[in-house]
Subunit: 179 residues, 2 copies
DNA sequence: CCTGCACTGAAACACTCGTTTCAGTCGAGG
DNA sequence: CCTCGACTGAAACGAGTGTTTCAGTGCAGG
């Protein structure tokens, strides 16, 4: 992992990264542009380039920030049986407060598939690995991959249709079969 | 559905749409640009704008073309039991020949979630509806939503990791439970 | 022949983009 | 005081964007 920009670990960098992260959660990463972003978080394109090296460096930092949020979730999970774990994960995924993060997550996932190069590289594969590691602790294959698929598929469905009842019932049915 | 551009149903339009569709399957929709596209399919930005009205009109037409490919698949499915249907769908999804189309599909899905306006609007919700209609004919809720989730989740996994064996086993395990 | 219509090429317009150049400001260390 | 390095503002650069304007083709129907 190479150093991005000049002020690699500076507090100002962390501060701006957090502000940019909040901005990106609202507006998405797809047509992110330095000038509007800088204006809204009280900075300038010049400074962002100085601190992150390039726009790609900034995007990588933002994606890293999103993955950190994901890892925090996975680390703070209650230990228990497979069915309980699945229900806890779905509760988190379905929470309206996490909607923005998950939309960003889907966007990054999609882009990583289409453009294997660029700042997105590896993002999709990394999250599969992270989640599978957690599920693999309580479920053998192929049940772990299947459970991950149910969670991710139901999440896509929920984000597109907003139907928390139907998607929640599908996850619950799968969890019940694991008890 | 309003008319896009001047030559709404002209053969030249269909021809260029098909060429543009092939181009987009290879390069993705994310940073599609008129000048490079036009050059590669033997046309000009001027003509694309004339036939499709605007870039957004072209993108809408391309997304419509992708959805048509999806509907063709769903219409040509062998009638049978739920387990057989699931296996047939997965066989199609996992086929390397369809990899490009499915990447495009994930890309459109992700963008539609982040930008509810714009040419992508409704794309994500529409495909959920299409697939659920097919699965709903052989499975009651919540099993239909669950089966859709398994297929979509396993597809995301496959596209990210390329692990056809693991993802295929997960879908097979789910199908076996439906028999 | 002529008019109209579908279509196209070249060039320009009015941007926005990421990035660079240059000229600073500011506080800490010697 | 002076210098050094972290940081920043203003402006410009060159490239690329979707779109428009204008001036045509070439071919069908009258």
């Amino acid at each position: 992992m190479t150093v991005e920009g000049q002020g690699a670990g500076s507090p100002r960098r962390e501060e701006l990264l957090e502000a940019a992260y909040a901005y990106v959660l609202r507006r998405g990463l797809a047509d992110l542009s330095l000038r509007p972003l800088a204006k809204e978080i009280g900075s300038s394109p010049r400074v962002l380039l100085y601190l992150f090296g390039s726009k790609d460096g900034l995007v990588r930092a933002l994606l890293g920030r999103a993955r950190a949020a994901e890892l925090t979730l996975l680390a703070g999970l209650p230990a228990g049986d497979a069915a309980g774990l699945l229900r806890a994960l779905w509760e988190w995924l379905a929470a309206p407060a996490h909607r923005d993060l998950l939309r960003l997550w889907v966007e990054g996932y999609g882009r990583a598939l289409v453009e294997p190069d660029g700042p997105w590289a590896g993002f999709a594969a990394a999250t599969v690995r992270d989640w599978l590691a957690v599920l693999g602790r309580v479920l053998p294959e192929p049940a772990a991959t299947e459970a991950l698929a149910v969670l991710r598929g139901a999440l896509l469905d929920l984000l597109a249709t907003g139907d928390a009842h139907r998607t929640g019932a599908a996850v619950a049915a799968h969890a019940a079969r694991l008890a």
